[in-house]
Amino acid sequence: MSFEVPDELRYLESHEWTTVDDESVRVGISDFAQDELGDVVFVELPDAGDEIAAGEEFGVVESIKAVSDVYSPVSGEVLAVNEELFDRPELVNEDPYGDGWMIEIAPSDGVGYEELLDADEYDAQIA
């Protein structure tokens, strides 16, 4: 089974992705992660305005069978959260890189967290 790993994104070993932009990035979990979790039934996210740190947990995603913390690939202020997921958590399964995004962050240090993987590195990790 192969999973989608878009080239333009950066990844954490713990299976989160981020877009790359100096002003505002989007963050979510990877195709591999949603498949491992199975049917997602609940997502807990921070509030807009909260400060979060790269490498630290910012939310929780729960499937029928598992509870998993979600870690941030960047540091900064939360600009927006995807409230659609509160009513339709299954979007994380259906479209993990699109409608299943979780939060938008104004990166305080750019997308420079040294633990980030590029698509090839992440693909190798889940292979």
């Binding site: 199975g38 039934v41 609940f42 029928i64 509870v67």
Partner: protein, 391 residues
């Protein structure tokens, strides 16, 4: 301990199942998605491989007495082809396991049941009462409990000098559960003489040929839906499994289905070490017959005389977003602990978060407002008497 595998592990792997460790067994947890598999059973039909269930065969002149002493229900009420739900309790009345006890055709010898199914099927020709010989029973302990059950039965027999043979036949058997409102249709397609099976009433069992294989088929299950459990020789497992051309389902859906019905999971909703409970606390007092003489009977009778249990097994529905889980505390909404959950999930059928657990009796009345502590936050919840679905 090395992992045990069901006879069809490779077949399930090829079908794309993911696996989990369950009671020392490597079992399919999911074939497609828990949600799809759950819906198939509620709305159509699904097939589970439950070969992790144990099989202890007991036979001989004292078999009935031995079974009656070690299970809480009245075994003397069973005729060949009957079965009953029961608990296995220790001297203190604490549940070690829950189980189904089947009375097999007379004359089966413990340790050879799978080998004699096809001869018996011909001989009995649909009439189990026509069989002759000593009584024989099949005890079905939960995953990983077969060895302790075997020891318990053998030790008790030896202590009391009963004339009964006991065999742990878990490796001889495969077991499948065919469950759902369309289970009858699936059985009609798979069984050689479907009417002998589809005519069974709840908790009745019979000899039948499924997928061309002599099998023991019962109208039992763990989902709340109509359905059958099919037990056959492990060597013939694939012929039987492939005779049911229906949605394969894993233990993930089996768990969500049983939670919606409020059915107990051994080792989680009760456990002699982690969650010691009597059948009364666990809400299955109906399997305890105090007029029979069984290990734990006196302790349970004494507890009943003192009044009902302090804590009872019940359900809750979360009224806020979240998912109740095993181990979460239940409070009165004001930080005072009144119980805890032993099971929980997002109910696929209802789309609502549901939980099962033990609450102090004075807070266990349906409709009582309580809270469930989810990662440090009290979330509003309501006590609901299970089942969560009308079935």
């Amino acid at each position: 301990m090395s992992e045990r595998t069901p006879p069809l592990h490779g077949v399930h792997e090829t079908r794309g199942a993911t696996f989990t460790d369950f009671g020392g067994w490597q079992m399919p947890v999911e074939f497609d998605s828990i949600r799809e598999e759950h819906a198939a059973v509620r709305e159509g039909v699904g097939a589970f491989d439950v070969s992790h269930m144990g099989e202890i065969e007991v036979s001989g002149p004292d078999a009935t007495t031995l079974m009656d002493r070690l299970t809480t229900n009245d075994v003397t009420a069973l005729d060949p082809g009957d079965s009953q739900y029961a608990a296995v309790t220790n001297e203190e009345g604490v549940m070690l396991d829950d189980t189904v006890v089947y009375r097999l055709p007379d004359g089966i010898e413990a340790g050879s049941a799978t080998a004699s199914l096809s001869d018996l099927d011909e001989e009995a020709d649909g009439d189990l009462d026509a069989t002759s010989g000593d009584p024989a029973y099949l005890l079905v302990p939960n995953a990983g409990h077969d060895e302790e059950a075997m020891d318990r039965w053998v030790d008790y027999r030896d202590e009391h000098d009963f004339d009964a043979a006991v065999a742990n036949a878990t490796a001889d058997w495969a077991m499948f559960a065919i469950q759902g409102p369309e289970a009858v249709d699936a059985m009609e397609a798979a069984a050689a003489s479907p009417e002998s099976v589809t005519g069974l009433s709840k908790f009745q069992a019979t000899l039948a040929t499924t997928g061309g294989v002599a099998s023991w088929v019962a109208r039992t299950g763990y989902t709340g839906e109509d359905g059958f459990e099919v037990m056959c020789p492990a060597a013939d497992a694939e012929a039987v499994w492939s005779a049911f051309d229906v949605q394969p389902c894993g233990l993930g859906a089996r768990d969500t289905l049983r939670m919606e019905m409020g059915f107990l999971l051994s080792g989680q909703d009760f456990d002699p070490e982690e969650e010691p409970r009597t059948p009364y606390e666990a809400g299955i007092g109906f399997v305890v017959d105090l007029d029979t003489e069984f290990v734990g009977r006196d302790a349970l009778a004494a507890r009943q005389e003192e009044g009902g249990p302090d804590e009872t097994f019940t359900g809750i529905k979360l009224l806020e977003r979240g998912v109740p889980r095993n181990g979460y505390a239940v409070t009165d909404g004001d930080l005072t602990r009144i119980g805890h959950l032993t099971s929980g999930t997002m109910s696929p059928t209802l789309g609502e978060p549901i939980g099962l657990g033990y609450l102090h009796a004075e807070h266990a009345e349906p409709g009582t407002e309580v809270s469930v502590v989810v990662r440090g936050d009290e979330k509003r919840a309501e006590v609901v008497a299970p089942p969560f679905l009308d079935r």
